[in-house]
Symmetry: C2
Subunit: 142 residues, 2 copies
């Protein structure tokens, strides 16, 4: 069958592949060292970076589905890495905050993250790396 379509140069396919390649390199770290899922890592990172947040705020920061956030929060709480505190004004809301154990786990993964970032940066070269970042950011407005 003759066609001008080629899966391997189709952007959704290319993007997904590259994304997995890049993501899995780092996933191996949080998965093997801490038995964490991607959702858990993102929730941890967001709380680590912004301090106390509500689940809804984490959703907007990470783009994760709210059930994923709910489940990730639960499991991170299980390991005593975060505590929930009910908001006084609005009792629907739970303020989430890392414990000191959570903060050290975050700090350790941050270091690993920065190292991994540097590895990719070295591979691509500084110019291509920032070009790529810029292009990916631009795609957010697609």
């Amino acid at each position: 069958m003759k066609t001008e379509f080629d899966l391997h140069s189709f952007l959704p396919f290319l993007m997904h592949h590259a994304s997995e390649k890049v993501s899995f390199g780092f996933r191996d770290i949080y998965r093997d060292q801490y038995r964490m899922t991607r959702s858990e890592w993102r929730v941890l990172a967001t709380l680590g970076q912004y301090g106390a947040l509500t689940a809804t705020e984490i959703v907007t920061h990470t783009g994760l589905h709210k059930t994923k956030v709910s489940r990730a929060v639960f499991s991170i709480e299980q390991r005593r890495w975060l505590k929930r505190r009910q908001d006084e004004q609005d009792r629907r809301i739970l303020r989430l905050e890392l414990t000191s154990q959570g903060q050290s786990a975050f700090a350790s993964l941050c270091k690993a993250g920065i190292a991994y970032d540097q590895k990719v940066r070295d591979f691509l070269g500084e110019d291509d790396f920032s070009r790529l970042s810029a292009l990916l950011t631009k795609l957010n407005d697609l």
Copy 2:
């Protein structure tokens, strides 16, 4: 907590977001029009593009997990879009081939794919689009 780490500029995060953005735009098409999953779409596209293949060949072309291919093949077969034919020399092997219905579905999705590609191309501009493709391709060797 002060840190030089920022999730939103972390490449695995950026990549994953952009990838979903780009992928979902097209997924809506094969999902809504044909109730297909991504695995099914990829298998269809690969068979459409290369003609008869074995499941293992589809795995190498698509990077899909072999159980995904197995299941996708099964469900595509259910809709009579492909037929299996046992290889005479090696009876472990099943040659997979699209039926004419499968080929028209593929043709239709190709058209949609090309249109979608054009849409992204227009959004990014031709230069950025090819720059991006090149960078993503480069990442395969990470």
